[in-house]
């Protein structure tokens, strides 16, 4: 392994995509994501690919649709308002069963909001911001290295299941720099027998569409999609559990918040409070059984989010209301560990498990 | 010398071929096809010049004009 390089999150995503064999990127500038574009605008032509600046996020996601139809490994990236504009396109990509990687470097919201770090697009991407029955695999890295690893993983999952995969970042992770190693493994080869590449070696045309007019065609289509989604739920759940076995107070956090929460858990442990951290890495499929397990000893659960409370619903569903689940949240910033630590301490006193 | 073939079941009875045939040898049939339309048909194929204007104007691409044997 070579020496680590100091890299900005956004650039790391871009380089990881290249390492994963992605040669086509369609995007539209938006802070705090623009460096993904800028980096790829420079790098992709060097790699024999193309960066195309779309005229909007709506166009970008549909260019992605087209490039995926044509058999390319393809990515787009944006930030919250831009991702909203992609919702129709995402529903189409999911329905057409096209592999594609989408990156959301989330920012302050709703509306124009601002360029702050945020985790307020959980509902949008995890539950479904587009119309209809579909699911988006959502990965939530927490460091620049993981931004790289998860971008690579996103392409693998997208290929394996022919489905769109979203990588979550936030303004902080997109902008911050950390030492990283770029992946050296060869990207998986592309199988595209289904792609609309022209009928060159085929007798029958390949058709990619999302229209199912007879009701039972639509029903069968949805059933097929959801059979695939169930398979993904079985195969692809990821999480980490830190000191959860004996945890009285379980903190649940993802992405950048999981790092802060981990520090808070360590502070609590030093203080004699048995705290633990459960970190979902795949937000969908949500690692619900693992969380249920991790909470088996807990007297209380705190979800820490940079939102008004979104993942908390999945946490509640997973915990099955065994113990109270409460929200710790801040908006517009990544809080200090001691803020979460205070929340843990307070909870520990309430449920009488404090040292 | 020409045969004019209609894919009768696909005809929608729009009458474009009738209107544009220079020889005026196409007419709508009395009967209806399964779709419920009166299909077009050639009355006197011997007068057909093979100009294919009927086919060119047929919006449902159901006419073929081929050089046949003796009329």
């Amino acid at each position: 392994m070579s020496e680590p390089i100091l890299m900005k999150g956004n650039e790391a995503v871009a380089e990881a995509a290249i390492a994963a064999g992605c040669r086509y990127f369609f995007g539209y500038p938006i802070t705090p994501q623009s460096e993904v574009l800028e980096h790829l605008a420079r790098r992709l032509p060097e790699e024999g690919g193309a960066y195309i600046q779309a005229e909007s996020e709506v166009s970008a996601i549909n260019m992605v649709f087209g490039a995926a139809c044509a058999g390319a490994r393809v990515m787009t990236a944006s930030s919250s308002p831009g991702i909203s504009l992609m919702q129709e396109g995402i529903s189409y990509i999911a329905s057409a069963q096209l592999p594609a990687v989408l990156v959301n470097i989330m920012r302050g919201s709703p509306g124009l909001g601002g360029i702050h770090p945020s985790q307020a697009d959980y509902f949008q991407s995890v539950k479904g911001g587009g119309h209809g029955d579909y699911k988006l695999v959502v990965l939530a890295p927490s460091s620049v290295q993981e931004l790289i690893d998860h971008t690579v993983l996103a392409f693998e999952i997208a290929e394996k299941y022919r489905t769109p995969v979203m990588v979550f970042g936030d303004a902080m992770m997109g902008q911050m720099m950390e030492p990283v190693f770029l992946p050296e493994a060869e990207p998986a080869p592309i199988d595209r027998s289904w792609a609309t590449t022209g009928m060159k070696n085929r007798e029958k045309p390949n058709i990619i569409h999302t229209l199912y007019l007879p009701a039972d065609d639509l029903e069968n289509h949805c059933q097929r999609l959801f059979a695939k989604y169930r398979e993904i739920q079985r195969q692809e759940q990821l999480h980490t559990a830190y000191l959860t076995d004996d945890a009285d107070i379980l903190v649940v956090a993802y992405g950048i918040m999981s790092r802060v929460a981990r520090a808070a858990v360590e502070m609590a442990r030093e203080d004699g409070i048995k705290a633990g951290l459960f970190r979902p890495i795949t937000l969908w499929p949500f690692p619900d059984q693992a969380l249920f397990q991790a909470a088996s000893h807990a007297q209380a659960v705190i979800t820490a989010e940079i939102s008004m409370g979104q993942m908390i619903e999945d946490v509640r569903l997973a915990i099955k209301d065994k113990v109270p689940v409460e929200l710790f949240n801040r908006i517009g910033l990544v809080p200090n560990p001691d803020e979460i630590y205070e929340a843990i301490k307070k909870k520990a006193q309430e449920v009488k498990v404090s040292a | 010398m020409f045969e004019v073939h209609f894919l009768e079941q696909h005809c929608k009875g729009c009458g474009m071929c009738v209107a544009f045939c220079p020889r005026k040898i196409i007419e709508m049939a009395e009967h209806t096809n399964d779709q419920g339309y009166n299909p077009a048909m050639v009355t006197d194929v011997s007068r057909c010049t093979g100009c294919a204007i009927c086919a060119m104007m047929c919006p449902h691409v159901i006419i073929e004009v081929v050089e046949g044997g003796a009329a």
Partner: protein, 247 residues
């Protein structure tokens, strides 16, 4: 003149959903004929649209894509950038292209994207039941202009004239299919558009004035007459831009 006529091999033989006399059918056929004649069946990726042309991928016998409403030019861009040597075209109605898809169409022209657009202007939204389109003519009654299109709705959108101002637009033509002669001209225009693309000369678009007998409340022949007499004065026929290479 060659005699006789055979269905182009790039058309699947199946009944079409178009209404009796709908001009969509004629244009579908012409596209297939041109691709046949250029020998490009195996090199073509067709991008459909949402509108009465929505099933084009079921009728054409080459690779086809059904994109979302209005975004066919963006989808075609994605395809073409990945497969620069294929013939990539979109088939769009006036609602799809000139309303919701305006941005995508304009920027394909601006970028000089090497795709071709076959644009069916029937002055309204056919598939959804005859609402006003940007191309609806002044005074024309539609289901959303019950008193006829008036000042408050603006003036009909002349797509060719607008796109011709973009440097990247290489071939821009407006044709019709209300007579055999116009059908021949339309076919030639489609061919030139595809040639423009394959020669790498820039973006190309053919607007075809088309009858929608159903929503116009006319029989097919009245509708053709309407195209000739009412539409062509508002949407003059002709080639607005022809690149050197395909003349």
């Amino acid at each position: 003149m060659p005699k006789g006529y055979q269905r182009p091999s790039t058309l699947v033989e199946r009944p079409w959903h178009f209404c009796p006399g709908c001009n969509h059918g004629i244009v579908h056929r012409l596209v297939a004929e041109v691709i046949d004649e250029m020998g490009l069946q195996k090199e073509t990726v067709g991008v459909g649209s949402v509108g009465c042309g929505v099933f084009s991928y079921e009728y054409f016998n080459f690779d086809g894509i059904g994109p979302s409403h209005g975004r066919a030019p963006a989808v075609a861009t994605g395809v073409k950038r990945v497969l620069p040597d294929r013939l990539v075209f979109t088939y769009q109605g006036d609602g799809d292209l000139a309303a919701i898809g305006t941005t995508e169409m304009v920027h394909c022209a601006v970028r000089g994207e090497l795709i071709s657009i076959i644009f069916i202007n029937n002055t309204l939204y056919g598939m959804t039941g005859g609402q006003m389109a940007p191309t609806t003519m002044m005074g024309q009654v539609t289901t959303t202009t019950p008193r006829g299109r008036g000042q408050a709705q603006g003036h009909p959108f002349r797509v060719c004239e607008m796109l011709a101002t973009a440097e990247g637009a290489a071939y821009v033509a407006r044709t019709a299919v209300y007579s055999p002669a116009q059908v021949v001209r339309t076919k030639k225009a489609i061919r030139r558009a595809f040639e423009t693309q394959m020669a790498g000369l820039g973006f190309s678009l053919v607007e075809v004035l088309s009858a929608c007998p159903t929503n116009w409340g006319m029989n097919p022949l009245e509708a053709l007459k309407f195209v000739e007499e009412e539409m062509t004065p508002v949407f003059p026929l002709g080639e607005l831009k022809v690149p050197e290479g395909v003349k």
